[in-house]
Amino acid sequence: MRVIGMIDQIRMRRDRRNLLALLAPGMLWLLAFFALPLVIILLYSILTNGPRGAIVWQPTLENYRTLFTQTIYVNAYLRSIRISLETTLICLLLGYPLALFIVRQPAHWRTLLIFLVLIPFWTNFLVRIYAWQIILANNGLINGGLTALGLTPLALLNTEGATLLGLVYGELPFMVLPLYAALARFDFTQLEAAADLGANRWQAFWRVMVPQTMPGIVAGSVLVFIPTLGQFVVAELLGGAKVDYLGNLIQRLFLRSNPINWPLGSALAVIMMVILLALIFWYFRVTREDER
C-alpha cells in the first residue's frame, strides 16, 4: 500500500510537471497571439489619434463617444447587424431543409452529400467571390444569358442583394453542419409519437423537432452571425463598397483612411467584440440548459 502510494505521488508530481511542460507552448501561444493583441486593442481604443495617424499617449473616451454619436458609425453598426441577421435567417431557412434532407438519406448518400457541402472549402474564398462577380457582372453569365434570350440585362453586381447572396453563399455550410449534427441525433420516432398523439406535421415540427434540434439551430446561427458581422470582402467585391459595414469601416480606419485612425478603429473593434461576446455567452447558456 505505502509503496504504491509513494509511486502514485511521484507519478502525480511528475505528471504535473509534464503537464506544465506540455501546456507551456500553448499558453505562450495564446498569450502572444490572443491576449496580447486584445490588450493592445483595448489600450489603443482609449488613446488619442495624433496628426497623420500617430498615436498620442493621452487617455480619452472620445473614440467611444464618436462611435455612439456620429450617424455614419451608428448606421454602419445597424446595417451590419441587420445584414448579419438577414444572412443568418436565410441560411437557417435554407440550411434546415437541406440538413433534414441529407439526414433522411441512406447512410452512403448522406456521407456523399455532406462531402458536397464541404467541397467549396477546397477553393479560396476570394476566388469563389470573384467567380460570383463573373456570374453577376453586367456582361456576366446571367446577363449574357438574358441578352441572348433578348431580355434586358439586370443590375445584379454591386447591389445589397449581391452582398447578401455572397454572404449566404459563404456561410451556408457553417449553418448546415451543426444542423446536420443535431438532426442526426434526433430520433425520428418522436415525430410518429407526436402524430400518434394528435399533432399534425406543423405542430410536430414546432413542438418536437425544433426544440430538440435547438442546439444545432443556435450553434449554426452563432457560427454564421459572428463572421458575417466582421465581413468586409463580400461587401467590397459584390456590394461595390457602396455602403459601409462594420468590417469595411474597421479595415478603412486601420489601413486606408486619411489619416489612418487606429484608436477609433480599435474602439470599433472593441464594441463589435462586446456584441459577439454577449452572443457567445448566450449561446453557452442555451446549449448548457439543453444538456441538463
Binding site: Q190, D196, L197
Partner: protein, 368 residues
C-alpha cells in the same frame, strides 16, 4: 361496448420492395379485447401495428376502426394511441408535459389539463413524478409514462409494440400484471405485440400467431397451446416432440400416422386429414407419462413405446427426462414432482427401462 369489432383487417398486404412484410392478413379484434400479435422477430407484427396506427398504409386491403375505413385517415386523426417499443418520450419535456401533449393537441381547455394529467399519472402509479425529465427515470418508469401519455387520451384502441421488451425479467412480470389491471380498469381494446409466447399466453384474451407476414392461427391461449393447427404454431408455443410420418387411418377427429422408423401413433386432428398425407405428430413433454414396464401392464393407453432413460434433469417443480426410443430418436418427457421426497428411487435414473404412454387425446396429428 358495441358489436362492431374495434379493429378489422381485410386481406391486408404490405410490401416493401419485393418483401411481403404483411401477407394477406385478415383479423377481427373485439371491443375491449386484449389481443396479442405473437411471432418471431421479422414476421410483420410491427408493420401490422403501424398500419393500424396509420404510420404505414396497406399496399392492398383495408383497415377499419370501429367500422370506419381508415384508408384516408392520417395517424393524428385516428382514435388509437401507441406505446412505442422505444417509448419515444419527448426528452425536452417534463413527465407532465409529455402526458399533457395529446390533450393539448386535441384542444382540451387549460384548466382541465392538470387534473387529467394527474389522474393518468396516478393510474400508472407515478404521482409525484410530474416534474421529472424522462431521462431521469428508470426504464420501468419511462414505460409507465408512455402508458399514461397514451391512455390519458382515452383512445378507442391502445397499440403496444413489445412494450416490455427492454425491461428485466422481474420488472417484466410486474408490468404484465399492471397492464392487465389497467386494461381491466379502462376497458380499452389492447393490441399487444410480443415475440414472447409466455407473455402472450399469460396476458391475452386471444392471440394471433404470425410467421413470415402471415397469420397462421387465431385463438385463445388454450386453443393456441392445446390445439395448434400447424407445425409452426405447435413448435413456437411451448415445447414439443415431433414425429414425422404418413397418415394411415383417420376417423372422428383422430388419425393414426406411421413414422419412418415404423411407429404407429394416434392423435387428435385439429384440421381434416386424408390417408397418405404427410403429417407430423406433436407430443408435448408434459402430456406424456413415463411408467416402469410393470406399471405399464395395467394401463390402457394407445401409446406404448418401450424406451430407455438417457438424461434426467431435476429442476425443482419438474423433472425433465430425455428417453431414447431407438438409435435415431429421443423424446422429452416432463414429470411434475408432486411428491416431496429425498428417496433417489422415487426419481428416474439414466439407463432404466421405461414405457412412454400417452392417450391419443393428448397428442396431435398436424398436416401442413
Amino acid at each position: 361496448m358495441s358489436d362492431t369489432p374495434a379493429i378489422e383487417l381485410h386481406d391486408v398486404v404490405k410490401q416493401f420492395g419485393a418483401t411481403y412484410a404483411v401477407d394477406h392478413v385478415s383479423l377481427q379484434v373485439g371491443d375491449g379485447e386484449f389481443f396479442s400479435l405473437l411471432g418471431p422477430s421479422g414476421c410483420g407484427k410491427t408493420t401490422t401495428l403501424r398500419m393500424i396506427a396509420g404510420f404505414e398504409y396497406p399496399s392492398h386491403g383495408e383497415v377499419l376502426i370501429h367500422g370506419r375505413a381508415m384508408a384516408a385517415t392520417p395517424p393524428h386523426r385516428r382514435p388509437v394511441n401507441t406505446v412505442f417499443q422505444s417509448y419515444a418520450l419527448f426528452p425536452h419535456m417534463s413527465v407532465a408535459q409529455n402526458v399533457a401533449f395529446g390533450l393539448q393537441m386535441k384542444g382540451v381547455p387549460k384548466h382541465e389539463l392538470g387534473p387529467r394529467v394527474q389522474a393518468a399519472l396516478e393510474m400508472v402509479r407515478l404521482d409525484g413524478f410530474d416534474q421529472r425529465r424522462p431521462r431521469e427515470m428508470s426504464g420501468g418508469q419511462q414505460q409507465r409514462v408512455a402508458l399514461a401519455r397514451a391512455l390519458v387520451n382515452q383512445p378507442e384502441v391502445l397499440l403496444l409494440d413489445e412494450p416490455l421488451g427492454a425491461l428485466d425479467q422481474k420488472l417484466r412480470k410486474e408490468m404484465q400484471f399492471e397492464l392487465k389491471r389497467l386494461q381491466h380498469r379502462v376497458g380499452i381494446t389492447f393490441i399487444f405485440v410480443t415475440h414472447d409466447q409466455e407473455e402472450a399466453l399469460t396476458m391475452s384474451d386471444r392471440i394471433a400467431v404470425m410467421n413470415q407476414g402471415k397469420v397462421l392461427q387465431v385463438g385463445s391461449p388454450t386453443e393456441i397451446y392445446e390445439r395448434p393447427t400447424c407445425r409452426f404454431v405447435a413448435d413456437f408455443i411451448g415445447e414439443t416432440n415431433f414425429i414425422e410420418g404418413q397418415v394411415v387411418a383417420h376417423d372422428g377427429g383422430y388419425a393414426t400416422i406411421q413414422s419412418h422408423d415404423g411407429l404407429e401413433l394416434r392423435g387428435v386432428t385439429p384440421r381434416p386429414v386424408s390417408v397418405g398425407a404427410h403429417a407430423t405428430l406433436s407430443l408435448r413433454p408434459e402430456k406424456a407419462r413415463l411408467l416402469t414396464p410393470d406399471q405399464a401392464q395395467s394401463v390402457q393407453e394407445t401409446f406404448r413405446l418401450a424406451v430407455k432413460v438417457e438424461l434426467v434433469s431435476y429442476i425443482g417443480s419438474d423433472t425433465r427426462i430425455t428417453v431414447r426410443l431407438n438409435a435415431q430418436r429421443t423424446l422429452d418427457v416432463w414429470e411434475q414432482n408432486t411428491r416431496s421426497t429425498l428417496d433417489r428411487n422415487a426419481y428416474w435414473q439414466p439407463g432404466e427401462d421405461a414405457v412412454l404412454v400417452c392417450p391419443p387425446e393428448n397428442a396431435l396429428v398436424l398436416v401442413e
